[in-house]
């Protein structure tokens, strides 16, 4: 063994007090760091797994016209661009080998109207509920009322949105024909339970860029909660696809059933701005004072659908795609985008984490917070280790000075300190990492579950499943090495300044 390591190893046992102090700090720092990394990694994987499984799939198709990829939660509350050729898209997707399943859906930014005050804005998802429920692994549960039947119109209000509606509009949505369930009231509503304004129907008004679509009355069928990450995913209420289309002014399946001409088909699929542009072009010679008459009934509420419709004939905003197991998302995205372009389908494929927009950022914030905590622990550790090692260097002036006198260069002194710190770091830090791995595995095996929505964000789902793969463990070792290196820089500078003369002067 090189003499620097011999000296380093034996010094650990010689200076037991200092070794114990530094060792304890390194052990605890590494332990906390490893557990923190395990929780961060579990959170990351849990969030990905739950969001992909319950809410997005791995890939989403969105309109080529869509400016931002974050269709599911844009910071500006922008309305999604329509996709009016789903049947063509469906044909192409059916032939893709790496796709496991796919499902079209709508998303819209709406106002929930309130006759006694300001409306509240929110997102709604337009879906064929039964397909949606099965596609996303039955990831939600009904708290009150029931799920929607096939072909039935109505809305499933999330618990989060119900709370918002109560806080901002002052009414408490309940499923049609059900009693108030007191145990589901929040604290504020419970205090006011005798005077609660119960609503069995909600009026949504779709918001396009010009805020000029129709309002739609939706019967509340049920109050739902996502089994995992409800506080994140519960920003959305689920509306049947036909009501959604009516609300957003889109071409519906009912319109298709009525054999509307291609001209109307295209017209109805356009956003308001584009409609205005058409009129501007076609009616440019009309006197400004002259009233322009066009069939408003096309945008009005449709008659109740009484027979089975091909819902896919109407307009959607996105297509959720689940890939076959072990399929690389990046690779699938590239192949899919080429295929979509080759078929001129006017849609593009985006990964789930871009599609969720701010939801993904929430995960990043959580990770960042945990990382900062671990970094703080290590910052404190660096300061303490640095001080202790600097003191140790000062106490060893005779020894180091003697070494310099007999011919040891400054580099040898540096190597000796590096070796001593490395040996301590490897021993105690390594032990901390090992114990951390054991703790993470024990915690994971306990499969702790929670319904607490705040805890679910930390868990990355409803099950606490911290995880450390080889990459995470490597990261722990890199972090430990980095901390060790930072902590030893100043003590090395102190030790390198010790000269042979210092040792002789002390002699």
């Amino acid at each position: 063994m090189p003499v620097v390591f011999t000296i380093a190893w034996r010094n650990i046992f010689r200076h037991k007090g200092k070794t114990l102090i530094i060792g304890t700090i390194l052990f605890l720092g590494s332990l906390i760091m490893t557990i923190g990394n395990g929780i961060i990694s579990g959170l990351d994987k849990g969030l990905e797994n739950n969001i992909v499984k319950s809410f997005t799939g791995e890939i989403l198709l969105i309109s080529e016209e869509q400016l931002s990829d974050s269709i599911l939660l844009s910071s500006t509350g922008q309305t999604a661009e329509p996709i009016n050729n789903y049947l063509e898209i469906e044909k192409v997707l059916k032939g893709v080998s790496f796709i496991d399943s796919f499902l079209p859906g709508g998303i819209g930014y709406v106002w929930v109207l309130n006759e006694s005050g300001q409306p509240i804005d929110q997102y709604i998802l337009g879906i064929d509920f039964n397909k949606y429920y099965n596609f996303f692994d039955r990831s939600m549960e009904v708290l009150e009322g029931r799920f929607m039947e096939p072909g039935e119109k109505g809305v499933l209000v999330s618990t989060t949105m119900r709370k918002w509606l109560y806080d901002f509009c002052g009414y408490w949505p309940v499923p049609k024909g059900t009693e108030l369930v007191e145990e589901n009231l929040n604290d504020k509503a419970r205090l006011d339970k005798d005077n609660l304004d119960l609503r069995e129907e909600l009026v949504y008004m779709g918001l396009s860029r010009k805020n000029s679509t129709l309002d739609v009355l939706c019967e509340v069928k049920g109050i739902i909660r996502f089994k995992a990450l409800n506080s994140l995913l519960g920003f959305y209420s689920l509306v049947d696809i036909e009501s959604f289309r009516e609300c957003m002014g889109y071409f519906t399946a009912q319109d298709a059933e009525s054999n509307i001409s291609n001209e109307y088909h295209n017209l109805l699929s356009l956003e308001d701005e584009k409609i205005s542009n058409i009129f501007d072009e076609q009616l440019s010679e009309i006197d400004n004072n002259e009233t322009i008459n066009f069939d408003q009934s096309l945008f009005k509420r449709k008659e109740k659908v009484k027979k089975t419709l091909d819902l896919d004939a109407g307009v959607y905003n996105m297509v959720y795609i689940k890939l076959k197991p072990d399929q690389d998302i990046k690779d699938a995205l590239n192949k899919l985008n080429i295929l979509l372009k080759d078929n001129n389908l006017a849609v593009r494929a985006v990964p789930w984490n871009k599609a969720v927009g701010m939801l993904g950022q929430i995960a990043m914030i959580m990770k960042g917070a945990l990382f900062l905590f671990v970094a703080f622990i290590f910052f404190v550790a660096v300061i303490i280790i640095m001080n202790t090692l600097s003191m140790a260097a000062m106490e060893r002036v005779s020894e180091i000075g003697m070494m310099r006198a007999v011919g040891a260069g400054k580099w040898f002194v540096s190597r000796m300190f590096l070796a001593e710190t490395f040996v301590q770091s490897a021993t105690f830090g390594g032990l901390g990492i090992f114990v951390g791995i054991v703790v993470i595995n024990i915690l994971a095996s306990l499969k702790l579950t929670t319904k607490n929505e705040i805890l679910q964000i930390f868990y990355g789902g409803d099950i606490f499943h911290p995880v450390l793969d080889s990459g995470d463990i490597f990261l722990c070792i890199i972090q430990l090495a980095f901390v060790t290196f930072i902590a030893v820089i100043y003590p090395i500078i102190v030790a390198r300044r010790i000269s042979a003369l210092d040792a002789i002067a002390r002699d």
């Binding site: 003499v3 011999t6 000296i7 034996r10 010094n11 010689r14 005779s398 020894e399 000075g401 003697m402 070494m403 310099r404 006198a405 007999v406 011919g407 040891a408 260069g409 400054k410 040898f412 000269s499 042979a500 003369l501 040792a503 002789i504 002699d507």
Partner: protein, 229 residues
């Protein structure tokens, strides 16, 4: 032939607002194989002189030549190499590496030289330990040795690299008179056998019995040089 040549060497230390003149124009010529004692009262400049000869301190002015090399303009690395290959040190407090045993302490400077194989290093160290007669303590650590034994280890460490000069600052100060006498006779024996130059400072009048040159120093100046043989 000169192994150490000092010309008009001066060393000044700042001390608060004043300057201490530790050495004031020292002229010294020491021949190879000498056994020289530097004597003088405390504060006379003995240790400063040894430090400058040992290249652990630099003169303010003057010329210093060690084994025909002008050390005045050497870099720190060059001075470190010079100490490693040409100068051995024996300290008053022995200054052994506490976590290494006798053998490892003696091997230490040889390892720094990066000149020998591990087998050669082991052989040279064992021979030197035998030479200073502490073979029985070869596996012991400094804390398990007596003062005399520690100083023998220090001597072995100083000599194992076959230096041209060995500097010893009051090598017997921490030893009883009998052990001190043994150490001095050991140094004298090595001086005679290996033709190594020994320069040591001392207060001990018995040391003068061994020296072949005594340099008296006072107020930073060499005031007398006595040939003892």
């Amino acid at each position: 032939m000169s192994i150490v040549l000092l010309k008009d060497v001066r060393k000044d230390y700042p001390l608060g607002k004043t300057t201490v003149h530790a050495l004031q124009g020292v002229e010294l010529d020491i021949s190879t194989g000498s056994f020289i004692s530097i004597v003088g009262p405390s504060g006379s400049g003995k240790t400063t002189l040894l430090n400058i000869i040992g290249c652990v301190d630099q003169a303010t002015t003057g010329s210093i030549t060690i084994d025909d090399q002008d050390v005045s303009r050497m870099t720190d690395n060059q001075l470190t190499d010079l100490r490693l290959f040409k100068i051995g040190f024996i300290f008053q407090s022995f200054n052994l590496i506490p976590v290494l045993n006798v053998l490892e302490n003696v091997e230490f400077p040889l390892l720094l030289m990066k000149k020998y194989t591990s087998k050669e290093i082991r052989k040279k160290a064992e021979e030197m330990i035998e030479h200073v007669r502490i073979t029985e303590q070869i596996s012991q650590r400094p804390s398990e040795l007596s003062g005399g034994q520690r100083q023998r280890v220090a001597i072995a460490r100083a000599l194992v690299t076959s230096p041209r000069i060995v500097l010893a600052d009051e090598p017997t100060a921490n030893l009883d008179s009998e052990t001190g006498a043994q150490i001095l006779s050991l140094m004298k024996r090595i001086n005679e056998q290996n033709n190594v130059t020994f320069i040591f400072s001392t207060h001990d009048p018995d040391v003068l019995k061994y020296a072949n040159d005594v340099i008296k120093i006072r107020d930073g100046k060499v005031i007398e040089r006595i040939k003892c043989q």
